[in-house]
């Protein structure tokens, strides 16, 4: 315990004079990171898709602020265009959001300071998303503990601002674009998800789950299976997990 405390103290290289400075330090880190570009790509694509299915740009911005999870927004917006029952879509959104649970669990201990209240954790909890989580785990250890919540909120605000702005840009670009360019914008979403998921899949189990999902998703949809995405997740994920357990047991 004391060893890890002194280690985090010596690693604290980014010093901020105040919480406000830490917040803006976080905003700056967000705007300068590669994830801003990925978010731009993702949300320009989502904006174009939202325009395509006919929701308003205010609705899109509000969904970015409230939902703050591109895969869930993608499921919701494409369902508005293609159908599915309310229950089915809510279930698909909820299943896609299960990943947020372990991410929150892994992140919050990094932010905790002695005497922290539950309500100080509410904003970082809501802000938890793939890009914010990856960057927080990388950057937070070098930030002094008392400024981590402010830094994390700044980082997240930077990302969320980028996403809301890019969503609007994509929405209005899609309205006046030649068809081929509009198609290319829609292609940004699956591409940036695809490559950032490939990048996140460092463990053998993640790679297997990714590969199985890529095959099972279209196959189950082609066969007309009900709740095809849910089954893709459960079957592909459980198979990958089982292989992971067997490998662990035999090693």
């Amino acid at each position: 315990m004391s060893a890890s405390k002194s280690a985090s103290k010596s690693a604290a290289s980014t010093k901020f004079p105040s919480s406000v400075a830490a917040y803006f330090g976080g905003v700056k880190s967000a705007l300068l990171s590669v994830f801003s570009l990925v978010l731009m790509g993702t949300y320009i694509g989502l904006g174009a898709l939202a325009h395509d299915v006919g929701v308003s740009s205010v609705w899109l911005a509000l969904s970015t602020i409230l939902v703050w999870a591109a895969p869930a927004q993608l499921i919701m917006i494409s369902a508005l265009g293609t159908g599915g029952t309310v229950f089915e879509v809510a279930l698909a959104v909820s299943l896609s959001a299960t990943r947020l649970f372990p991410m929150v669990v892994a992140l919050l201990p990094l932010l905790r300071v002695p005497g922290a209240r539950l309500r100080d954790m509410l904003l970082p909890t809501h802000f938890t998303s793939i890009s914010m989580w990856v960057e927080s785990l990388r950057l937070l250890p070098s930030v002094a503990r008392e400024h981590r919540i402010a830094f994390c909120n700044g980082l997240s605000s930077g990302y969320m601002g980028t996403a809301v702005t890019s969503g609007c840009v994509g929405y209005y670009l899609a309205a006046g674009l030649p068809p081929l360019l509009a198609g290319a914008l829609l292609f940004l979403t699956p591409m940036s998800f695809f490559l950032s998921t490939v990048r996140n899949a460092r463990m053998m189990m993640d790679k297997l789950a990714l590969g199985l999902g890529l095959v099972l998703g279209p196959l189950l949809a082609y066969w007309g299976v009900q709740l095809d995405l849910m089954w893709t997740g459960i079957i592909g994920g459980t198979l990958a997990y089982a292989v992971h357990r067997v490998r662990e047991a035999t090693q």
Binding site: A79, F101, A184, G217
Partner: protein
């Protein structure tokens, strides 16, 4: 969904179908953050399920595209995705480089093969 949007309004749908089912996992995470560690089996399994599900979404978006993307022939979309992956793996695992390469491949392919 379309009927429900007309009946209930888009903002109520956003709360019911988007916000609540998504946010519930963050809140559960907040409440259990003290009890569970990131190496627990339940957490590992749910990560695998989430990864497979996300991959399913990606594949469906590329193969069964909607909107203007559907007008670009399927082999061009698949070829562009392969191009993106190849560039990502070849250029220092840069997501940005991969996405740009995929987009260029899609535009060139679309320009040549769209009737």
């Amino acid at each position: 969904m379309k009927a429900a949007v007309i009946e209930w309004g888009p903002y109520l749908i956003l709360i019911l179908v988007g916000f609540l089912p998504n946010e519930v996992w963050r809140v559960i995470g907040l409440l259990t953050a003290r009890g569970l560690d990131e190496d627990s089996q339940l957490v590992i399994w749910s990560r695998a399920v989430a990864t497979a599900l996300l991959a399913g979404v990606i594949a469906k978006l590329i193969l069964f595209s909607s909107g203007e993307l559907a007008n670009i022939p399927l082999p061009v979309r698949i070829g562009a995705a392969a191009c993106a992956l190849g560039t990502y793996l070849g250029v220092k695992r840069s997501v940005f480089a991969g996405v740009i390469a995929g987009e260029i491949a899609l535009l060139v392919g679309g320009f040549l093969f769209v009737p």
